[in-house]
Symmetry: C2
Subunit: 335 residues, 2 copies
DNA sequence: GCGTCCGATGTAATCGATTACACGAACCTC
DNA sequence: GAGGTTCGTGTAATCGATTACATCGGACGC
């Protein structure tokens, strides 16, 4: 690999000039610049990142942590992150925390060690050591949250209005004439689940003549299956089920089939996220569509603003969701 | 952030000693070592990565490129990669190439610039510049391929035996009594698709009394839908369809429903990959199960062996696949 | 008691860039 | 034409680690 010294020698200038040609070309006279560029081309020179970042304290890397990269919801957000980051000249360091606090701390340490310029975390938990950092630096902490809204963390975030989205899903069901509605939430440790539950309860308070049946899942297909089986075994059973993720809704579909019921004839079903499979299920799933790529883009933008010092407050960006009505919801059959 | 100088001062030793305590503790006398460690703790010292990698020419990073991170097959492989890499003390730089050659080259440049110690690429295309590198360095090029087997690339790889796996899927269908079988391949530019097709044709040659109907898809749900519609419209239509990915099989399921047919009563269906949804479809999908996490682990191991100089040949590792028979396949109904 | 060797530690060069500061030339201005 | 700018470029310090080589003191052999 050619170094800046090689280029300088080849072009007959000092290393300072080479450096300037590359980072502040307007400060170099045209003929010199041309000579340097020619040398750069000839030698195939590219600046050594380690040296650069040692000197400048910038790495050009963004660390992104996610509880489970194989979850299609997260992997679509990540895709948006990668896209926006690479467009801005940053590269993405991926951390899969597997929902384990220990691994979250490991990645937090990478940020503290300055192995990345900033951290984007998808999920609800901010490691203690970073919470301190965020408290100390305020709006200038290079930490951004995606998908959740937890103002008490004190870090910027991009997410949808989970409360309203959940309320809309419920309104849709009430509007169709459902009154006995079962809900499968995510873990209530996550604000996102709590927000959605708040929205559900608000809608129920306005419209529901019947108590809600609420079960807690963990966003997995299996938990959707299990919790929905429980809901369907109630007497009387719900005529509609609202799951806080599409994966759980897939499990719910299976539960409905197992009980010998039909969706939507016997039980209507609403999911959340609109992952790529939602529209291809049988029946196609009514669900709350989240703009995953846009969330990814937005968290990157928030982070870049912090890194560029363009901020003085902690910003929370709410992106638009959309209730997508497909064939899994219908009016309840009177019986 | 504390530097090695701070630690040295605090412990009353030279920086050389601090460095040795951290990387070759046996060369330092016990009392000194203890004093240094105490200082390290007290100051919360962690070596600066940039400085370290500038000096040692190692980054501790593995670059992983993937055509589409939001594809659950790849995201599960990535998960395995991340797991194995972080267990070995490496971190993962993620590159989503979106099937675009230009982006592949961009990431290739990162490797050439030594921003990562090695590259793992999932997919079939090795950028030209890296092909040169691989040719020049032979088995010591820090480049590994996952999922595909292309000996002509000259880089190590981990994958299943696609040809045999596909043949087994066909044997399963022939064994059930099917003779008119439709196949939806992936893009034939990828060796993986060609290998599977070879297996399919070999099985057909042994067992098929009827010509195969082969359609080419692109692994997407939509292409599975479209190509299967085409196959079903043939006269006579196939009684079974084999798709080279589970996502295409999801599309195929939809095609079968659209034509008013039942799976498996009218048409049996076999997929490939065994992504997390395969078992939860209606009907649960018979498919060739690939060990995605194991592929991820294995490519990392191959790369680490190269990085450690523990190799003198280009190794190709074949991992075990498994035909998982579920309810989407059954004997054809005579008539 | 002297020379040798070894283990523990320190000194300082080095990796490859960036950038504050210095310098000289050319060009104005009055 | 003396003094002041501006412009283009070079000199050299610096970032924070690693490591070859030097040094020193003590143990050991004869």
């Amino acid at each position: 690999m050619a170094t800046i010294q090689d280029v300088a020698r080849d072009a007959g200038v000092s290393t300072a000039t080479v450096s300037r040609v590359l980072s502040a070309p307007e400060r170099v006279a045209e003929p010199t610049r041309a000579r340097v560029m020619a040398a750069v081309e000839r030698l195939g020179y590219a600046p050594n990142t380690a040296a650069k970042s040692l000197r400048t304290l910038r790495t050009g890397k963004i660390l992104v942590t996610v509880p489970d990269i194989s979850n299609p919801f997260f992997s679509q957000v990540i895709r948006g992150v990668e896209e926006a980051a690479s467009a801005a000249g940053y590269s993405v360091l991926l951390g899969d925390t597997r929902h384990e606090e220990e691994r979250e701390e490991q990645y937090a340490a990478m940020l503290r060690r300055k192995e990345a310029d900033g951290l984007i975390f998808l999920g609800h938990r901010l490691p203690d050591s970073l919470a301190e950092l965020a408290a100390a630096l305020g709006p200038r902490a290079p930490i951004v949250n995606g998908c959740e809204f937890s103002p008490e963390l004190g870090v910027p975030s991009a997410h949808i209005d989970n409360e309203r989205a959940a309320a809309e899903a419920m309104e849709h069901l009430y509007g169709l004439g459902h009154s006995r509605i079962g809900v499968v939430t995510g873990p209530l440790a996550s604000p996102l689940s709590r927000d959605r539950l708040t929205g559900v309860q608000a809608a129920a308070a306005r419209r529901g003549r019947w108590a809600l049946q609420v079960a807690q899942g963990d966003f997995s297909i299996e938990s959707g299956l299990e919790q929905t089986l429980g809901l369907l075994d109630a007497d009387p059973p719900p005529t509609a089920v609202f799951c806080f993720s599409d994966e759980m809704a897939m499990g719910a579909l299976e539960a409905i089939r197992r009980r010998g019921l039909k969706c939507p004839a016997d039980v209507s079903l609403v999911g959340f996220d609109d992952i790529r499979y939602a529209r291809h299920l049988d029946p196609p799933l009514t669900t709350v569509s989240q703009p995953m790529p846009a969330i990814g883009h937005e968290v990157v933008r928030l982070l870049l603003d912090v890194l560029a010092g363009r901020v003085d407050t902690v910003r929370h960006v709410t992106l638009a969701h959309r209730l997508v009505i497909r064939a899994s919801t219908a009016a309840p059959t009177r019986g």
